[in-house]
């Protein structure tokens, strides 16, 4: 199994590990609820070095990406980022991505660990004047997330981090060269820090030593993103799902033709949010019902640590279901009522 550069540091911190996309990743260091709450109220630090970094550079880098992705990379301003997707020819999702424009002719694509190879394979052959390089093996990625993140990071950067949400800049953390992006997967303010592997341990230790910061594992990352209504590839997104079905029709904003665009079609299913009462989570795979009729399936579900209620995302074939309507979920033989709820379940400052 793959290990990140920080694996030994996690072991020293007493982490439990889990296989995630072929990577042996920390699932929690102690209590995943405490880690979750640290991100909501202070700051949490995540090793996300399993994610893939693919660089596209050259005069036609922007126009090449415009021919591949669901929104127009050439329209991204230097230093800005966009959430995007790469589709297959049938318009199913190969991966959801963040595209950063680092320079006029240089883009960074961050892919999910389990899909990185598929994304690179899909992008590497082309007729455009640009180079596609998978540099995932050289880069580590550390996320600092939570309301205290800005205060913590600015104690250690060479110059004040001056960027807004979905932006990226070059900086230094105690003399280590980094790219700092104001992005994340938790629903909080925060940063994703890209560095060369040999700087990762130093940067991790600088940040984890801050009194506001709690090291956090994938369990907290999953509960945080679900509260924030963010999809997870493999749960809400897959190669048979189109962006509009996942509620992401807005993201499809590329004015030109792009890979899969000719096969975008009317949705046959709809992603919905669900909220219940009590303490029993509706978990992935549990079925949705209206009366006797099965109308869908949970894709992700937990007892929300912040809201103290069960929350879930699910696909339904009932395309007209709207927030405020009630459905039933079969929780291991018990039918429990859930309210269709607009996403996200949690917004910062709420």
């Amino acid at each position: 199994m793959n290990k990140t550069i920080l694996h030994g540091v996690h072991s020293e911190l007493g982490a439990s590990f889990t296989d995630f996309g072929g990577w042996d990743m920390p699932v929690r260091y102690g209590s995943d609820l405490a880690e979750h709450n640290a991100v909501r109220t202070s700051a949490g630090l995540f090793d996300i070095s399993h994610m893939g970094e693919i660089f596209i550079s050259g005069p036609e880098a922007g126009s090449y990406l415009d021919s591949k992705l669901i929104n127009a990379s050439s329209a991204i301003k230097i230093g800005k980022a966009k959430y995007s997707m790469l589709l297959n020819e049938s318009a199913g999702i190969i991966d959801d991505l963040i595209v950063y424009r680092l320079a006029e002719e240089k883009f960074l694509i961050v892919a999910n660990a389990s899909n990185k190879d598929a994304v690179f394979e899909d992008l590497k052959n082309h007729d455009f004047d640009c180079r596609v390089e998978d540099q995932s093996d050289q880069w580590s990625m550390i996320a600092l997330q939570g309301p205290k993140s800005n205060e913590v990071i600015n104690r250690h950067t060479k110059t004040e981090v001056g960027i807004g949400y979905y932006s990226i800049e070059e900086n230094q953390i105690e003399s280590n060269e980094v790219l700092i992006a104001r992005t994340g997967y938790t629903g909080e303010d925060g940063f994703e820090i890209y560095c060369q592997n040999d700087a990762a341990i130093a940067i991790w230790k600088i940040l984890v030593d801050a009194p506001e910061v709690t090291p956090c594992g994938l369990a907290a990352r999953d509960s945080l993103r679900l509260e924030a209504g963010m999809p997870l590839y493999g749960n809400e997104l897959d190669a048979e799902t189109q962006p509009a079905e996942a509620g992401l029709a807005k993201v499809v904003s590329n004015p030109g033709d792009f890979q899969g665009s000719k096969n975008l079609s009317s949705p046959t299913k709809k992603l919905i949010g669900l909220m219940g009462d009590g303490k029993r989570a509706a978990r992935a795979g549990y079925k949705l019902f209206q009366g006797d009729q099965e109308i869908g399936e949970i894709t992700s579900g937990i007892l929300s640590p912040t809201l103290a209620k069960p929350i879930a995302m699910a696909y339904t074939t009932e395309l007209t279901l709207e927030p405020g309507e009630k459905i039933m979920v079969d929780i291991r033989g018990n039918m429990q009522e859930f309210l269709v709820t607009a996403l996200p379940f949690y917004k910062r400052g709420s």
Binding site: S16, V27, R28, S31, D32, L33, H36, A219, D222, S223, K279, R280, A281, R283, I302, L303, P305, R332
Partner: protein
């Protein structure tokens, strides 16, 4: 780490005997593997429990697991306190995080000593 006076099942429950009353809980190994416990579905007073038969459920933030009884008997008391504070199961699995008590006549000979259980979980 595992109390010497307890007996242990291969499904990671512990049993502490006092006369004909046995107190049942899950081991620290099981509690750690589950992660934070957020919901417990425990047997009710008067229920009969059967050795290695399902008698409830334990939900953690990440998963739901079946609870197996380590003993044949009749439930005489349930730890109601932990249904409102399930985190106690993680904080003190071998003590305040006990789950239920049963009146019993015989312990299974398959139950392990602390040393045997320690060896099983490694």
């Amino acid at each position: 780490m595992y109390p010497e006076t307890y007996k242990y099942s291969k499904e990671h429950e512990w049993v502490s005997v006092d006369g004909d009353i046995a107190t049942v809980g899950i081991t620290s190994y099981a509690a750690d593997a589950l992660g934070d416990v957020v919901f417990l579905d425990l047997p009710k007073v008067g229920d009969d429990t059967m050795y290695l038969k399902i008698c409830g459920e334990i939900e953690s933030t990440k998963s739901v697991s079946e609870l197996y009884s380590p003993i044949n008997g009749e439930v005489i008391e349930v730890n109601d306190a932990i249904t409102t504070t399930p985190e106690v199961v993680n904080q003190d699995p071998h003590g305040e995080g006990w789950l239920f008590k049963v009146k019993f006549t015989e312990l299974s000979s398959e139950l392990m000593t602390a040393a045997e259980y320690q060896e099983m979980v490694g």
